[in-house]
Symmetry: C2
Subunit: 424 residues, 2 copies
Amino acid sequence: MTEDLLARRARLMGPEVPTFYRNPLHLVKGEGVWLWDKAGKRYLDCYNNVPHVGHSHPKVVEAITAQALTLNTHSRYLHEGVLDYIERLGATFRHETTQAIMVCTGSEANDLALRMAQAVNGKTGIIATDNTYHGNSALTSGLSSRRPPVGGYPQNIIRVPAPDSLAPVGGSREGQAQAFAAHVKAAIAELETRGFGFSSLILCPLFANEGLPCVKKGFLDPTVAAVRAAGGVIICDEVQPGFGRAGEAFWGHEVLGFAPDIVTLGKPMGNGHPIGAVFARPDVMRAFREVFAYFNTFGGNPVSAAAAMAVLDVMEEEGLQQNAREVGAYTLDGLRSLSHPWIAEARGQGLFFGLEFLTPEGAPATAFVADVIEAMLERGVILNNIGRNRNTLKMRPPMPFTRENADMLIAALQDALNSTPVRA
Amino acid sequence: MTEDLLARRARLMGPEVPTFYRNPLHLVKGEGVWLWDKAGKRYLDCYNNVPHVGHSHPKVVEAITAQALTLNTHSRYLHEGVLDYIERLGATFRHETTQAIMVCTGSEANDLALRMAQAVNGKTGIIATDNTYHGNSALTSGLSSRRPPVGGYPQNIIRVPAPDSLAPVGGSREGQAQAFAAHVKAAIAELETRGFGFSSLILCPLFANEGLPCVKKGFLDPTVAAVRAAGGVIICDEVQPGFGRAGEAFWGHEVLGFAPDIVTLGKPMGNGHPIGAVFARPDVMRAFREVFAYFNTFGGNPVSAAAAMAVLDVMEEEGLQQNAREVGAYTLDGLRSLSHPWIAEARGQGLFFGLEFLTPEGAPATAFVADVIEAMLERGVILNNIGRNRNTLKMRPPMPFTRENADMLIAALQDALNSTPVRA
């Protein structure tokens, strides 16, 4: 059956379409933190952040259904839904990013945010971190592409080394904040030399794709100062850390204690409904609208707004940010209690965890981590890897994750670690 | 009330957010071809193509609800839904564009299609028509931008004059096909001179944004020959003409009788659910996958696939393509029966119409058309304008448009034309 589907995919979607697992999962049902495959096997989902308030949450579906049966049009007509949502979400920021353009995906959000920054300062140079992902559009894929696009890498984009827990930029954890800022300063100078000028720095405040390194409040302060001094704009991609996942804060950038000029949102925002947004300060939005005409057909339509609003309702009703803080801390304790000679570090922020593995020689245990992921699937737990070398287990469950779920994850992990042969 | 919403929009969305009408509509309900505003006034929707099978169609909502309550995950797991859809829609093409990547918007589709073409021939030059719109991403907005982006217009994009009904390229309708092809050939040569090389020609097969000019089967044959001779790729943007709207054919390019290498889809595909797609020949898809890594989180998820599938079901059950052909012809007859000295031409293809107005001196009657649009709103009919000079009324109703709806449109139009003072 699974082979049939793989053959059909190759015929209908072409070659090299990405899948997870050596034998890709054929899923048929999801509920809360659980997924079921075609054979009826149940899996604890410790990976997917799109179903933010839980797979198939009935309240979100109800909101979508009710609005879709009533009206679904674009925003060139007036509707309260999108305004109520922007007002409510904008109030969660501790700074003035209170105006928004609603879009359909995180890619659209970042593609737009980069152009907003260019409108602010009239420059076109962009700085990103070195193993990041900010989207799949032509512009955003240039930030993260592993294969050079046709025509070569864009010369107006420079990538700087992201912070790392075990191999810190500049050689020490203490000096990492200054060393990171120094790389950004050098990139700013290089963009000026190349004639583009420096427009924006875009980053995930938890550096999620680079392995979720331990960075603390204030880490970005020297970088923010350097960007501001150069007239640049800071774009904070909150697709992964946002919406309460960080536990102690609603937004990832609050954890680091800085105020971005633009915040971009995507995946978890509509619990699977395609929705994203760019929040910006009024002066940034004004500068953008003076230069660019922009309209998004589906963005912020009444159904999308209803879906996104329902996600916020459920988060409040079920206390999901508090849950992320409490169960996140509990889970991190569990990860730290695991026993295996190749464990290098257990890290976490709210309900987002990294478990890094190094060989006794200090090399990335990439192959071992890949085997552990497969061993966990056998044990009914879905997780994945992150980091430059993909030697860090990535756990990022739906927000209603419980202590019992955490216990199951930790027990399965210890068992998988015990029984997976080590190989680098 | 409306003023309150406008003030809230300015505060929450910033300045210059596009709206329709001098007093923007505050809509609260939609059903079939009808929309209702806050005051309870009913409008005949002769403009919106996103609600393809009718506003709030219960079968589409039912499909979304059922799937969203069951499972909604990304395509790195296996699921039949997206495969069933690609197989079914791919079978509607009379050529080999049978493989697809599902995305969330038409913008994402075109942004991706342009890169597919670049992967095929290793060139980066793009040709588009001169008053078109293919999306709002950084790349696609460069095809249609009315204001230069920061850093200037991309040098790898050249716009050629689109066909025109009353001011044909080359001076005569008979010579227009050859004249259009000659402009494309000149642009190909220029892209070679500039060093980009020629990658693709992207166009809407009905040239909808340029005023829906009368072009007949075979019109693009000389152009297609020129593109093929240069090793280029033809991208057909079917966002507006596709899905049976053209009446006599399921796709706009069938009306012209040519076979594109890539077809892009958007707006009507999910009846308002954010979904789009790129269909391509297997050799094109293979070339793309060899060069680019591409994954779209929401694209082709089970809910999107269910929404899009339900649209096809409704189209078949309600005979909507046939309806577009029959009621389209009936409506066009009605438009041709209208009486006003400034009417220059009534044009149509299925359920898509243009009614062009010129002053007695032959100038575009742009202001008059704007006044007629407002007069039609007063009479409870929603339509809009198109064309380089916005002097053509645009009518593009939901597909279940009936003869009675057409009668109401025509009667309201004659009344509005009679009572709107002429001004250029």
